[in-house]
């Protein structure tokens, strides 16, 4: 994590590397070390280097966002963590087990980008099928199916085949299948994609609810406002490299500007500030460092990364 340390966004953005890779730690849910992926053609020639030496740790109970433009490697990272792809180099541990180990899937829920579900099944059959894959007892399965269908608001359409579902409905049932086993770790690929504004809001609420239940959520999304609203920490990838990693609030802090929102100051201070503000017919409520938007931060990182490929972004204070 040497590059991570060189970042000027502060030590709070990154986990302290005081432990060795793979060492038992109940708080570490995902851990990668030099994780790399090279796509090759039939003859073994390198086509694309999709991921370059990714070092990452995701803590238990946090909502972690993976951001990046198209082709940045975030989907590849997700697939490597799920065991859908095999790493060309490095290692990935998920819930303390190798990513290729199917036993880890007992505690994982995954919502793919397009809700890849069997269209000839209805909602109940879909959830029942995925429940059976976890060897859930029949009664538990039935109760869980009913509960999840109600939770995602599809009770009225539970007997309709998925081929008749709209994209939003498919996303909802996709989320339900990801939660069928009451997982500890949920991986969401573009969770708000295809949802209407109300659906987006509901999805975000559900993600926050999962966090409240102590679940760990890893999501990748293009909709930066969604990420900004729900994620505790984010990693920004570009061209297969980790460009930024840290807490959202720290990353979005604008260090060369001050913003006030205060109460209970001393009378003198209040008077002095108030005088200034009153000259402009206002009232001082708070003070502090203002935030930019994640959208601005993202664009800044991408443009700098393109200007200086292969280097970690260094941001001005």
């Amino acid at each position: 994590m040497s590059e991570e340390k060189s970042s000027t966004t502060g030590a709070d953005k990154m986990p302290q590397k005081t432990r060795r890779f793979g060492e038992d730690d109940a708080n570490i849910v995902i851990e990668t070390k030099n994780l790399s992926k090279v796509y090759r053609d039939f003859w073994g020639r390198q086509k694309v280097r999709a991921l370059k030496a990714l070092d990452l740790e995701v803590q238990k109970g946090e909502i972690f966002g993976l951001l990046g433009p198209n082709g940045s490697g975030k989907s590849t990272t997700m697939k490597l963590l799920l065991g859908l792809l095999f790493p060309s180099g490095g290692q990935a541990l998920v819930l303390g087990k190798e990513a290729s180990n199917v036993e880890k899937n007992e505690r994982i829920g995954y919502l793919p980008e397009e809700s890849y579900l069997y269209k000839f099944l209805n909602a109940e059959e879909t959830l029942d099928f995925y429940g059976r894959l976890f060897d859930m007892p029949a009664k538990v399965r039935r109760d869980r199916v009913k509960e999840l269908i109600e939770k995602v608001g599809l009770t009225w359409a539970r007997r309709r085949q998925l081929k008749e579902y709209s994209k939003g409905m498919t996303r909802r049932i996709g989320l339900a299948q990801a939660l069928i086993n009451d997982p500890d770790l949920i991986l969401l690929d573009e969770p708000t994609s295809g949802l209407d504004p109300i659906g987006v809001d509901e999805m975000k609420s559900m993600i926050m609810e999962l966090k409240e239940q102590g679940k760990t959520v890893v999501m990748c999304s293009h909709l930066l406002t969604d990420v900004q609203n729900v994620c505790d920490r984010i990693a920004i990838l570009h061209q297969g490299e980790l460009k930024e990693l840290g807490r959202v609030d720290s990353l979005l802090e604008v260090s060369d500007e001050i913003q006030f929102r205060a109460s209970g100051l001393s009378a003198d201070a209040e008077k002095e500030i108030q005088e200034v503000i009153e000259r402009h017919n206002g009232k001082l409520l708070e003070s502090g460092k203002p935030s930019t938007t994640l959208q601005d931060l993202f664009l800044e990182i991408v443009s700098e990364s393109e200007a200086r490929p292969g280097r970690r972004v260094t941001r001005k204070d």
Partner: protein
Amino acid sequence: MVFDDSISLVEWLSSSSLKFIIGAFIVAVVGVVFSYLTATLQYGPSEAFYFVSRVIFQIIPDFVRTSFGRIFALAKLAVQETLRKKIIFVAFAIFAAMLLGGGWFLNANSEHPDQVYIGFVFFGTQLLMGLFGLLIATFSLPTDIKTRTIYTVVTKPVRSSEIVLGRVAGFGFVGTIMLFLIWFASYLFVERGLNHTHNIKDVTFTRIETKGESSVSGGRVSLTTEYEGKSGLASSHWHLIEVSNEGLITVQVPPEYGGHSHDVMVRSSKYEGPINDRGNTSIRASVEDGKLIVKDVETDEPAEFWIGPPTGILMARERIRASELTFLDRRGNEKERGVNVGNEWEHRSYIAGGSSSLARAVFTLDGFVASKFADPNFVQLDLNNMSVVRTHKGDIERGVSGSLVIRGVTDNYEYRTEPIVFEADEFAIKTIFIPRIQENCSRTDLNVAEGEFAEEVVGSYDLFDEIGETGDIQVIVRCNESGQFFGVAMNDLYFLTSEGSFAWNFAKAYFGIWLQMMFIVAVSVMFSTFLSGVVSMVAVLATIILGCFSELVVDLRKGVMEGGGPIESFYRIYTQMNQMTPLDEGVTKTVIKSTDGAFLDAVQYLTFLVPDFTKLDFSEPLVAGFNISMAPFLIATTIAAVFIFMTVVIGYFILKTREIAK
């Protein structure tokens, strides 16, 4: 290929286990090397070694932890997919259309209508089930990978073995249901198409002047005909019905509608069954004013009578077959094969006839014991489709005369029955009834001192307790007429022990189709773990073709089949040389033989990787009307089970070592 049910499962296993082990070893080595090379291209040689080794060591734990619940879930999904996509309904509709078309075009007036009907539905079912298994199983997994629906499955705690097994089980289940429906429909089609009866009550009988012997297949006694009449018309044919002066009735096989006869059934207060049966001692028939009268001769009470269902078709005959066939040439020298009369593809060998010829066909039969026979007091010997070649017309009105002798050798004696003379029926079953007690049978004492003359005693001996005391007998066949030849093969002579159920035999034959379908499904799933749907289909078809011709390849390699390999065949075609002519010695022959040998060796090793499909095909005994015995049934099941298991392991290995995502 001639269906062979003479080998037991244990004998077959002992002779085939080496082939199995070689096949399994080749599969394992090829699989590991292929996986390593593929992984090397992706990850480099050292990473690939680690990767493949890890998968090998995970095979056993993965199979141990296999969950039947998950297999059931995946199987159920496969069933739902097939049903919801309406594939099964389309397939069944095709079969129904085939039966409808068959009903119109099949010729019930052919010589063997049962063979036409059974052959039609059996081949149709084989084709349909093969295509059905192929289409549903080859496209499913590639479609899941292409549409990425597999992502949501493999990210659950599902093992590769469960994905492969679930699909095989699911598609197999759907295929089983479909095959069961087709079996039922086929049975009804055959049974209803061929089962019929005729009117006998309105038949007018006339007295015939010439009396003669009449021995009928399915009958029990020889009769002297006194009256005859034509039965009512049914299924486009009628039968000549003969009433003997003993009061029994025979329904003759019609010449233009071969293969079947009927029993005349009677019912009175004392007896119900065929009038010609030995158990019937009281009911007899007579003709008064041209009309048939049937009554109990003791009480003078009239009996009901009617023509029963057809006999001689839709059979499932149990038999004791020859385990060995050897020949004696004209001079009495022992030979492996008889005379070749010119047709090199003919599997029969010929013996020359005539009083001066010592040519014989010697059939050796094991397990000849009384307990196997339904009626051991009168055993039935069948000569099935024995071939006759006439070098001169002779008496064209009757068959060529032959005779047979039953020979048995015990520790002390050698027995030989009096020659049993018969007329050969070509392309038909010649039935000979042999009484248990053999009159005029010769017994030669084998315990004679050297130089002394062996005493030969002619007398009555028991076929089972004396002649066949050891359970082994020989039937020695000769052709009596000079200039004529009998052609025989091992399956041409057998003792009919009992009559099994045709419906059950039909079901057993369809079990063979089920095994074929299950293998096709398993192979299709295996190929679809790493190939696209269309390419998988081509690979499965190639496997089936190789499986169908594996015996031919082995025979070609062993030199049993004349004509050689591809290069030799091409050379013979080019030089217009027939297959029996030996190639001239020289460089050309050496080059041709060695090239063909290398090619056939390679193809022969390939055949080790696929099952012999002909072993899973029971159509031949079913069509010929023989009961499918347990041995080929168990052998076929073992072959299918082993190969299905192998394909599941290979499918698991490939799925485990491949990346699901792109």
